[in-house]
Symmetry: C2
Subunit: 105 residues, 2 copies
DNA sequence: CTCTTGCTTTCCAAAGCGGAAAGTGATTGA
DNA sequence: TCAATCACTTTCCGCTTTGGAAAGCAAGAG
C-alpha cells in the first residue's frame, strides 16, 4: 500500500552533482560522518570537500556539528530531515527516469 | 536469482548530466525519438538539444538517423547497444548509492 | 530561384568545478 | 608562553560545461 519512492519525486540539482550525491549517499547510511572520512571517501582535496558540504549545509540539507569536547574539534556531518527528504525525492525521480530500463527490479 | 542491476555498475559523467540523463531515459523507453520531440521534452533550445545529442553520439551512445525517404529529412535518435549498456550501468551505480535509503524497493 | 524548414555550428556570458595556497581559530608540545 | 600543528575555511585561479542567440547550411516546398 505504501509507495515511498513515487511520492515527492523531484529532481534536485544540488543533490545531483556527483560529489554531493556521494556525500548524501554516505550520510543516509552512516547517519553521521567525520569531515576527514567524507573527504577521503570522495578522494578530493580538503577545500573541495569543505565547499560541497557548505553547499549542502546552505541548502539546509546537511548539519555540521563541531562538538568541542576533549581534544581537537572535529567536524561531523549529518543529513537533516530536509536533506533526507531531498535525497529521497531525487532518488525517486531518478528511479522514475530509469523505470523504462527493464521490468522494475 | 538474477541480479541485473549490480553487474556493470559504473558512474558515467556523460550520462549523468541532467539533460542527457533525460534523453537516455526517453530513448530507453521510446526506442527512438524525433529531434523535435526530444528538444520539446527537455524544454531547451535547438542548439542545446543538438549539442547534447552530439555528445552522446560522439560517445557512441546514441545513433542519429536522417532517413531521406519522402518529405523533409528529420533526425531520429536511438540508443546504441553501448548507450543502453552505459545507461544501465549508470543507473545501477545510482541504485547502489541509493541503497541505503530504506529497504531496497 | 527564393523561402522555409530542420537542424548544426559559432559566439558569448554565466556558472561550476577542482586544486593550491593563504587564512583562521583552537590546541598542543617545548 | 609561544611557536607549531591541526582541522578546516576561504580565496584565488584556470579550466570546463552549460545554455541561449544568432549565424550557417543543406534540402525540399512553392
Amino acid at each position: 500500500m505504501s509507495q515511498p519512492t513515487t511520492d515527492g519525486a523531484k529532481f534536485d540539482e544540488i543533490v545531483h552533482a556527483p560529489n554531493r550525491l556521494q556525500i548524501c549517499a554516505l550520510l543516509v547510511t552512516a547517519d553521521r560522518a567525520e569531515f576527514a572520512a567524507i573527504r577521503d571517501s570522495l578522494g578530493v582535496a580538503d577545500s573541495v570537500a569543505s565547499k560541497h558540504l557548505k553547499v549542502l549545509a546552505d541548502a539546509g540539507y546537511v548539519k555540521l556539528d563541531k562538538p568541542q569536547g576533549e581534544g581537537r574539534v572535529r567536524t561531523w556531518a549529518s543529513l537533516t530531515k530536509e536533506g533526507r527528504r531531498a535525497f529521497a525525492g531525487h532518488v525517486a525521480e531518478l528511479r522514475r527516469l530509469a523505470a523504462g530500463l527493464d521490468v522494475q527490479p
